[in-house]
Amino acid sequence: MSENYNDKLQELLNTQKAMEDARKDPQNTVITKVLTFFIGDQVYGIEIPEVIEIIEVPPITAVPGVPSYIKGIINVRSKIVPVVNIRSRFGKEEIPFNDRTCIIIVSTGEVSVGLIVDSVADVVPVTEQHISNTPDLTGVNSNRFIKSILEMSDGIKLVLDVSKLIDEHAAEEFK
């Protein structure tokens, strides 16, 4: 009985050690967290530091004379924020808003923009080993707004580069 007990203890210690080793391994250090959301079936992500908040879709006031992907402006606690429909921004067909549609407010320094997404999924911690290098597809449209690609057990997630998304020059090239 006592031998059996010792074995179990040894086993437990080994697991603990393995876990500690795994923690020390830089490959496993959590470097950032990413808010993931759906556009159709594809999962996209935005790094948490760039996310201000997630809100339901309020009444949107249309503004004349802007590109069609800018849906208008909304009032977020007395701050006027422009909203962009990610679907039409990426050249996809727009779908009617439903219960799960929401707006992610992102900010890069001075500029805040609301992004209309189909639904938000999760906040996932990202470690070094998840990140696969962005393939160098310079000039290929779809790569424009992608900062990095995450390979995770539940599928591939594309992390968006918010500043490029907001910066109109990038969008001009996109066209």
Partner: protein, 707 residues
Amino acid sequence: MAKVEPGMESMLEMYIFETNTLLEQLDEILLRTEDANVFSQEDINEIFRIMHTIKGSSAMMGFENLQHLAHKGEDMFFVIREKPEIAKDAHFVYELIFEVSDLYKAEIEYIQNTGDDDYTPTDFSETFHKLEEATEKLKAMENGEAPSASASSAPAASAPVPAAAAEEGSMTVRVFFEDGCKMENLRAFLLLTKIKDEAEVISCTPPDVESNADTAKDIIENGFLVTFKGFDGNNDAVIKTIEGAVNVESYEIIDTPAAPAEEKPAAVAQTAPAAPEEKAPVQEKAPAPAPAPAAKPEAPKAAVAKAQDDIKKANGGQKQSLISVNLSKLDTLHDIVGEIITTESMVIANPDLEGLELESFSKAARQLRKLTDELQDTVMSIRMVPLAGVFQKMGRIVRDMKIKLGKDAELVLEGETTEVDKSIVDNLNDPLMHLVRNCMDHGIEDDVNTRIAAGKPEKGTVKLSARHSAGEVIITVSDDGAGINCAKVLEKAKKNGILTKPENEYTTKEIQNMILLPGFSTNDTVTEYSGRGVGMDVVRSNIEQCGGTLNVESEEGKGSSFIIRIPLTLAIVEGMKLKVGNTIFTVPISSIKESLMVANNQLLHDTKQGEMIMIRGVCYPILRLHEKFNMPTEVTKLEDGILLLVDVGGKNVCLFADKLIGEQPVVVKPFPKYLSQYNIKAQGLSGCTVMGDGTISLIIDVNNLIS
């Protein structure tokens, strides 16, 4: 080199503000005296006071170059003070002082704009020499004209002159500063400066407080000794000054005026602790002393405290009722008031209350509305400043250009008490400067004979006027010069390739407004003041930035006027809410003339199928907002909706909307930065506002909508 000593950074902003204000005052006095061509005693004293203050505060901040500059300027005025007549027709004096004032402004701007470590003090030695020369010249003039005058003149103010013999009516005071107040020598110097306003300073110990920082130690140990003689023998005023001075802990009056002169600064340091006891009997200040003789009667010690109390009270009563507040605080206050007004309508027009009869609620709501209106007015009025400050700066420009260009002209100011928002005033400075320069350079004729031939007075006039008109301030810069030569403008425009239609199709007004286009300049040669073709379009964009418009009116041979219209306040407007489809628009009430329902028989169609309406015999074009802004709506028949007759600068247009919702004061918010890349303003929208229910309404700028 670091700009300021550690611990002084917080003072820097105050220093810059104060010095700039003083320099403006200086310019104003100089312009006035130059016109009158005589210095009154009052003016000279005022100039002295300004120079002293600048010198003192520059010294305190450690800007030695600025301090010396003021000092040299002071020296020059010292000569003038003795004999103001010599400054008559002495234009070099004005030139120099204006130069000094400009150098100051430049240096202060430099200090303001450079990083802590990049700052290197500018070398003013050239100006020093000029000032010294001028001082010599003035002295020579003074001696030449009245050799006897200098004999009775007082010794140079800052030079320590040992008063060997006790002068009649003089008084010596030993001043101690508060422990640990730092830089005692400069505080002593500041005190000395103040005393000089009231009295003639005969001597002080240590003598070189201004330039020698080591004297601070002496002053801590032995106090600061100053011997003076009040103007009109009135030493009380000086004592009061000493009492009222900052950081002065205590002072004592010593009745042996000769004593300080015998002491050498070095000796003081050695005999330090004993020094006060060695002095002749110490006099206490009586509560209400008569003009002080050399020896004064003994007074009880308690009286001193009482006297000080009295003086404190007196000072309290005279405290000025103005304070300077950081603009960002006002901006915050302004924002909060904006929020309150929005929130107020959220409460009062709350959808939950719809259809309820709430007598006491609406009574309270009305009361609240009244108070918030008042609050808003007050906050607005805090931010309102008269245009006088900006206008008066133009006097300086006219003066300088008059001399440089050799044209005779005067600046006439009108309505300079008109008040506008501070942020607008700040934005107006540059445009006005450009316009005034343009008037001087291009407007007023180069040759006086041309003016005489045209039957105009020899002296040209540049007029700056400001007035209120229906929620706007109208500022006009006009001259009685040559006016705009349309042929020349057209030719130039052709050369620059900015014509968009055949030459002969342009109206006079269109041609005149061409000069506001970028890259346009009719001046053949680039002068110091204009001709680079950047002026006018910069002026226009500056004015447009603060929501204003710029127009030109000119008559060839008679002169030209530049008319600036700017909104009185930028932030809160009374608006009328309109519904178009699902969107609520707000039109500023100030631009609405009337609203009306339309009957079919009033409608007219022009050749291009444009709709027009006949109201009381006058025809107005109709602008359908839903078409203009491409908003889907069910109301497309004119009879079903409502027309709003708006008026902008004489142009009338009827706006067609689905229906009127009501009026409400709205807080104008700019469109978010992200949208600024799309020219929404050109579409006729000036901003947006949050309404009571939290939705956003777009504010229509009727002016842009029509053009």
